[in-house]
Point group: C2
């Protein structure tokens, strides 16, 4: 496979990769009742803000010296060094709201000078070495789903920058069924990973919202966390070993499930976002595919009750594999997007049951048998009982499960309608969860509200731990036509300040990573010494500073 | 508290701290039938090899320049800088077999030039800075229970070396009952930690064999793993935050239960063994104290069946909180040390049940209620059934639980008898567990067997994971009177070579850490790049190279 394709085999053009919309995807369409509701809530008046035509996008000529180009071609072959406008545009930026705006004609694109498609870990290693030798910036690129600028083709201190697209590293290298280990190449997209493992009766169980496009290497490089993290763990919990190409040579880590042989350096590689090296293979803990599952919707009355319930499930260690609590704003949004008489009936039913401030709780259990699922469900519901959860049954649960990757797709429809739509996330300890939620919510509302605009700020807990939880915010507000980029940049900065102040209150990212956008807030979280340590590691592994310029550490370490 | 005391309040002299024998401890005595059995099995003839008198130990004069001494005294006060022979001997080395031999008069002791007892994290920070300024080596010292040379007072490139004893940092700093977090100072010994937390209805649940003496800081610095790791996790799984004194200033980490804000630097601190800084506070995940427990003994027929059973429990995620499988050699040893007619009856009973090659399996469940323990026990036993485990009941389980810290104490009696007795441990993936066990066993047997000496090499799995398990070896052999140190050094080297070859086959340490002893084998495990990365981090945090010289990285980084 020499060109990027999605997991259905469809060739990806840069718009498709960028916008998430598979051809003909029905769930990308916003129903009329949802549009009307949005208008009434937010003051949305604009009804059509189409993207600028592709030809209108400003794309400079590639600026890669011949000597570097030839050296790269000698590694990957001339067919696998791409310089066309479309090929470069297809690996320009990620999938944040601002990335999408830029591709629609608002704001400057950071287009790479070339795209290199190595065939295997050996070629990746040589590409990295060529870039170090010629001082060419190198941006590792998997699914291109970063929402924090993690794949921006920034030049840093270099004249040229290439994107190293890992799409040809799409193989299952080996399976050890006894140890339940699988070695996957870094460019394998998640649906392919599941398909390849299913042939062995195995699963990874990693289902972040980026599932359809994101890659194994990207998950590891960014410390991804999937919707079933309570059951399957965060991605770093699944990683047993890594193989990474660095300018100083290949680095392999991982010889046992646990070790006291010094610091766990795998945990230094995970989250390094391509700044220390390019992951080429990842050894993963896998499980047998679940034979049974049950997804179910519940409603709890009020955020405090809901959060306390999830906390108790976590601390009693009876969390469902998927445990997702929406706050009243997100619950309202979900009901409104569903619409129809069934939703209205549900609202009335909940009022009758005395639920004044409904918070949707989706629980999903997966297991080897119906009996196992039933037994684990009983343990969860026993702990939930005193919080008076009202069951909405499996229809709501299954509906969530089937639509769970649709969110990013609906953004295209929302962008066409003139909506500013973006998400951000954090995590903190339980005693600070309410404070953090209020602070971020206030920051977003205050910075986005205007005379004619009322933002919707919805929040959910999707990852719960014994000591704390993640908070995921979705914001919708009519776009400021005069300054669409500034509008969101100010709101995002206000939210990040709220997270990073007073302690900080929470982590600047629970599962989206640092990229460019969060780099200014990293020192508040890990201290100046933490930044110095990361810079020292980078200097050691990437002395020329060619790897993913401007990510993680912000500017090149001095 | 200004002087080191054990958790019963008894003042520690250097022999007590070193030998583990609390005054009057009955379980430190080896019964006569055990001695006879050992003699018949191993060829042991020597019956009395007492330690040399204390006065015979070669202890040099302290060599700490006045200017450094005064600077240290200005931080901690003159009362808390100790220079007496006894005070320095009490912090000389750890608790390995070779450490014990050295304290008995065989081999050279590495005695520090002074012992400093700071009162709090602020004083620790200033002591670290004074040492950096004056070029004095500094060895952080908690319980002194290292068995890999981790607290040897080596000088490295420095003229002088002090021990920084953390015994005054013995406080519970704060508890957050909502988030289930506790901040403990680094010098708190494990029994005190449990006592302090019990006042809040909480527990840590960390019970390594070193429990009675080891400290919170030591657990974190060495990535310790307790006997109930399947239930409570490894120590690094419990650590949410750290506070560390480094020559470049204080470093605090940990703001949320999980994060994607770059690499997890807490995992770089854990396992750093005092080479990057001195831990002063650790923020830990705690749990409610279990209200119910059940410990039970089982026997499985043969190592393969036993290991497969434990693997299935781990992969089906129904491990008991304590899960410990002895191989036939260790089972034989345990039965022989128990002795008596009850044991003989048990052997006959097992033969009648068709168990030809008994492997003892101890399972322990702890929980909030008898019902919870019963439910989890049912799940474990359901998975165990097809492996035809024979129950020995709760008496065997409780006996193990009560005697589980006695092993190290019995070493004193064995040393007096002329036995070379030591343990070592590793871990690997399930598909390699048998190969690794055979290889290490063969290395130990081959290097220790002689015309008049037959070694006992016993092994158990005490920490099981979905993808693999630890292997813990206990070796007993008559001491070579002519070359007692060389005898064990050669055996240990052979075992380490077996672990580090062919892949490597396993990790050089699952829970004992690197120290001095394992440093030569670290490059095989983490690669030369891994060693370079650790050295770069050390240069960044400890540019003068004063922190715990010779540990982790072996020699000072260039």
């Amino acid at each position: 496979m020499t060109e990027p394709r999605d997991h259905t085999g469809e060739r990806l053009d840069h718009r498709v990769r960028r916008s998430w919309t598979p051809a003909g995807g029905q769930d990308a369409i916003l129903p009329p009742h949802a549009t009307r509701w949005l208008a009434s809530k937010t003051g949305l008046t604009e009804q059509s803000t189409p993207a600028a035509p592709d030809s209108a996008l400003a794309v400079g000529e590639p600026d890669l010296p011949d000597v570097a180009r030839k050296a790269l071609e000698s590694v990957v072959g001339t067919d696998h060094l791409l310089r066309s406008r479309d090929d470069r545009l297809g690996r320009t930026g990620g999938l944040s709201y601002l990335d999408l705006l830029r591709h629609r004609g608002t704001g400057a694109l950071t287009v790479p000078d070339a795209v290199v498609l190595p065939a295997d870990p050996g070629q990746v290693q040589r590409v990295v070495e060529v870039c170090a030798e010629h001082g060419v910036g190198l941006v590792p690129f998997g699914g291109g789903t970063s929402v924090v600028g993690g794949v921006q083709a920034l030049r840093g201190t270099k004249e040229s920058v290439i994107v190293l697209d890992l799409c040809r590293l799409d193989k299952l290298v080996s399976v050890d069924p006894v140890s339940r280990l699988a070695v996957l190449q870094a460019g394998v997209v998640a649906p392919d990973a599941e398909r390849l493992l299913a042939a062995h009766g195995l699963t990874l169980g990693h289902v972040p919202q980026s599932f359809e496009r994101a890659t194994i290497g990207g998950f590891a490089a960014t410390r991804s966390s999937g919707q079933a993290s309570a059951g399957y763990g965060r991605f770093e919990d699944m990683v047993e070993g890594v193989r990474m190409a660095t300018p100083r040579g290949e680095w392999r880590l991982g010889v046992s499930p646990a070790s006291a042989a010094g610091p766990d350096l795998r945990q230094l590689v995970m989250g390094s976002e391509g700044a220390f090296g390019v992951l080429t293979e990842v050894t993963l803990r896998v499980r047998t595919r679940p034979a049974a599952r049950r997804y179910e919707g519940f409603v709890l009355d009020g955020w405090s009750r809901g959060a306390n319930a999830v906390r108790e499930l976590a601390q009693q260690r009876v969390l469902a594999d998927v445990t997702r609590l929406s706050d009243p704003h997100e619950t309202d949004l979900a009901f409104a997007l569903s619409g129809g008489w069934k939703t209205e009936l549900m609202r009335r039913y909940l009022r009758l049951r005395g639920v004044l401030d409904p918070c949707l709780l989706v629980l999903g259990w997966e297991g080897a048998s119906d009996a196992e699922v039933a037994s684990r469900r009983r343990a969860t519901l026993r702990a939930l009982r005193r919080h008076r959860g009202v069951s909405l049954g499996t229809v709501v649960g299954e509906k969530w499960r089937h639509g769970r990757f649709a969110g990013p797709r609906q953004r295209d429809a929302l962008l066409d309608l003139g909506v500013c739509v973006e998400t951000l996330e954090t995590a903190t300890y339980w005693s600070t969860v309410d404070t953090l939620r209020s602070a971020v919510r206030a920051a977003l509302v205050d910075s986005l509200a205007g005379s004619s605009r009322t933002p919707i700020v919805a929040c959910h807990i999707s990852h719960a731990y014994e000591t704390g939880a993640s908070l995921y915010f979705t914001t919708l507000v009519p776009r400021d036509a005069d300054d669409p980029i500034g509008q969101w940049e100010r709101a995002k900065a206000a939210a990040c300040e709220a997270i990073s102040s007073n302690g900080p209150l929470g982590t600047i990212s629970h599962h989206h990573a640092v990229g460019v956008d969060h780099a200014p807030y990293l020192p508040a979280e890990i201290g100046p010494l933490g930044v110095d340590v990361l810079a020292a590691v980078k200097r050691e592994l990437d002395p020329e500073g060619v790897l993913n310029p401007g990510k993680l550490l912000g500017r090149p370490p001095s």
